[in-house]
């Protein structure tokens, strides 16, 4: 019985994380072009969080307010650099949903490794799937060990 509960829980967790969703559920807003200006200054990006929809064409204008900064988007592998008075630009299609860190990729000072922003591509199904998997794990574990 225990193995059955454990197997079912694992199967449900994997389904929550990996199962393909019906197109209607997975679909987000209609794709559009989005131009976003990100200012880089003193180990911070402004805005720190950028939200777009899956399928959007994202055009980022990176403006540096102090020293040379870069912007690298995790998961997309695209990058740009800017220096004061000379902005950088990068364009990509946000074809993967989820939350992705973007970070400075030009050493700019002590806090450089932690100069981080966040790109959220909606619908953020990874996050929703993770919540579902967590709740299933919690419930499954409670059932599994309830009477042992």
């Amino acid at each position: 019985m225990r193995w059955l509960v454990a197997g079912c829980t694992l199967a449900l967790v994997l389904m929550a994380l990996l199962a393909p969703l019906p197109a209607a559920m997975a679909a987000g807003a209609a794709p559009q072009a989005r131009r976003i200006t990100i200012a880089a200054r003193g180990f911070a990006f402004a805005p720190g969080t950028v939200r777009v929809n899956r399928g959007d064409t994202v055009i980022v204008d990176l403006e540096s307010m102090d020293v040379v900064h870069g912007l690298y988007v995790d998961g997309y592998g695209v990058a740009a650099q800017a220096e004061p008075g000379r902005s950088g630009q990068l364009t990509f299609v946000a074809d993967r949903d989820g939350a992705f860190r973007f970070r400075c990729n030009v050493a700019c000072g002590n806090l450089h490794p932690f100069m981080i922003g966040k790109l959220v591509v909606s619908p953020n199904l990874t996050w929703l799937r993770a919540i579902a998997a967590t709740l299933i794990t919690a419930a499954g574990t409670l059932i599994l060990f309830w009477k042992r």
């Binding site: 911070a44 998961g75 990729n105 806090l111 490794p113 100069m115 996050w127 919690a138």
Partner: protein, 453 residues
């Protein structure tokens, strides 16, 4: 289910000889000294400085992702920080003096401090200033130097490895999380120890020193305080001590009789995992600036919130969860304080996996800083190994969430399993575990939110 790894002849020879371990510690000490020198005289740019890159990226990642989960306190067994003090105390580098004699004032550590409260305080102190320490080479160097000075001082004044046992801020959490590891050092047969009147494992002999960690191996029931220095393997005349491979987390199965200092260590580690994930890996620039602006009014507010989260808010929430469980089903005969400490065992897998998830968020991304630093440790323009020009390259950044999610779910599973086990060991209904399970689930969702939302 356990297997005596150290009974394999090759491994037994390795552990009985002093040379392999000594060579490893001496090599690590060279790296350690280089980290201090680089911090003091090298480039102030952290990502080009050996001290920052090798301590806070390479060593930290190895410690949290591999050593602690899979080998427990193995790091403590080869750690270079206490080595100079220990060599002074022994007046010997490798081979022991006759009878394992030590040269120290031999003052006994105060009874009231024979716990990990000082280690908790030390860790909180380092964590509070972490954004400075992790990014400023000179700060890292001063912290490391401070550790060595305190360790040497403790070796000269107090008996054995008092620094490691009661003071090292890193050792506190390594000990706590080493209970998860699938290895343990234990005696093979307790009856043999009982009949062995000399107790050379504790007193020392011509073959080695009495347990530097002030333990009697025959009484070991968990990994928390054993530093895997393997001294007892060398001094046991009955060949009755071994390093065993065991079921992971075996120490956690006994969820009664736990201590409040260790409970707080678990809470502090979980709170710090949250704070680090928000401050260091989060997208809030103002938060980073405030945490780094030491001495400003904003920083004092940050410090107040930091300490409140660690010492009051998270412990308060956990207390409420345990108290709710007690209200649902009263235990046979346990005080609230004991119940709080016992349920805190759930924080061990939960906290360890939280730290693994946090470490995954930056280790793979920043690991490539190590290659140029190998060739140019001080950032002075050298190119010793031809790797100085290698560019920063994040490793599998898009794959990090796929690693973080299962890691956190494993921690949650273990935590809830332990909560239910605790109810049984205290004679409570399983329903009493529900509030603690909810706490653990909320913590997991919170961490996932910081990484994925």
């Amino acid at each position: 289910m356990r297997y005596a790894l150290s009974d394999i002849p090759f491994i037994k020879r390795l552990l009985r000889s002093r040379w392999p371990q000594w060579n490893l510690t001496a090599t690590l000490l060279l790296f350690f000294v280089l980290a201090i020198i680089a911090g003091l005289v090298g480039t102030p740019a952290g990502n080009r400085n050996f001290g920052i890159v090798f301590v806070w990226i390479v060593w930290w990642a190895l410690l949290i992702l591999l050593l602690v989960p899979f080998a427990g306190r193995l790091w403590c067994g080869v750690c270079p920080i206490p080595a100079p003090g220990e060599w002074l105390q022994r007046r010997a580098l490798v081979q022991p003096r006759p009878g394992g004699k030590l040269y120290t004032l031999g003052v006994k550590w105060p009874r009231a401090l024979r716990n990990i409260w000082l280690q908790n305080a030390g860790f909180l102190g380092v964590a509070l200033f972490s954004i400075i320490i992790l990014t400023t080479p000179s700060a890292t160097a001063l912290v490391l130097l401070g550790f060595v000075i305190v360790a040497v001082g403790a070796s000269l004044v107090f008996e054995r490895r008092t620094f490691c046992r009661y003071l090292c801020p890193v050792g506190g959490f390594i000990g706590l999380y080493s209970q998860v590891a699938p290895i343990e050092l234990r005696v093979k047969d307790a009856a043999v120890c009982a009949s062995h009147t000399d107790k050379t494992c504790y007193t020392g002999s011509d073959d080695g020193y009495g347990c530097p960690w002030l333990l009697f191996p025959g009484g070991l029931t968990n990994n928390t305080t054993c530093g895997l220095c393997t001294e007892c393997l060398k001094t046991c005349t009955r060949d009755n001590i071994a390093i065993f491979v065991r079921q992971p987390g075996a120490d956690l199965l006994k969820t009664t009789g736990r201590k409040l200092d260790e409970a707080y260590k678990g809470l502090i580690m979980l709170a710090c995992a949250f704070i680090y994930s928000a401050v260091l890996s989060g997208p809030w620039g103002a938060l980073k600036e405030t945490a780094a602006a030491v001495g400003t009014p904003g920083w004092f507010a940050y410090a107040g919130i930091f300490l409140a989260l660690n010492l009051a808010i998270l412990p308060g929430l956990f207390w409420l969860a345990v108290r709710s469980g007690r209200w649902i089903s009263k235990p046979a005969s346990t005080t609230m304080r004991a119940l709080f400490a016992d349920y805190a065992a759930v924080l061990i897998p939960l906290g360890l996996t939280a730290w693994v998830a946090f470490t995954l968020s930056f280790a793979l991304i920043n690991f490539s800083y190590a290659w140029p630093v190998l060739s140019d440790p001080l950032g002075w323009g050298w190119n010793l190994l031809g790797t100085a020009g290698l560019k920063w390259t994040p490793y599998i950044p898009g794959f990090v969430p796929a690693l973080q999610i299962p890691v956190l779910l494993i921690g949650l599973t273990a935590a809830i399993g332990l909560a239910l086990r605790t109810t049984r060991q205290h004679g409570q209904s399983p329903w009493a575990a529900a509030p603690v399970a909810a706490f653990c689930t909320a913590a997991t969702v919170g961490l996932l939110g910081l990484y994925l939302a």
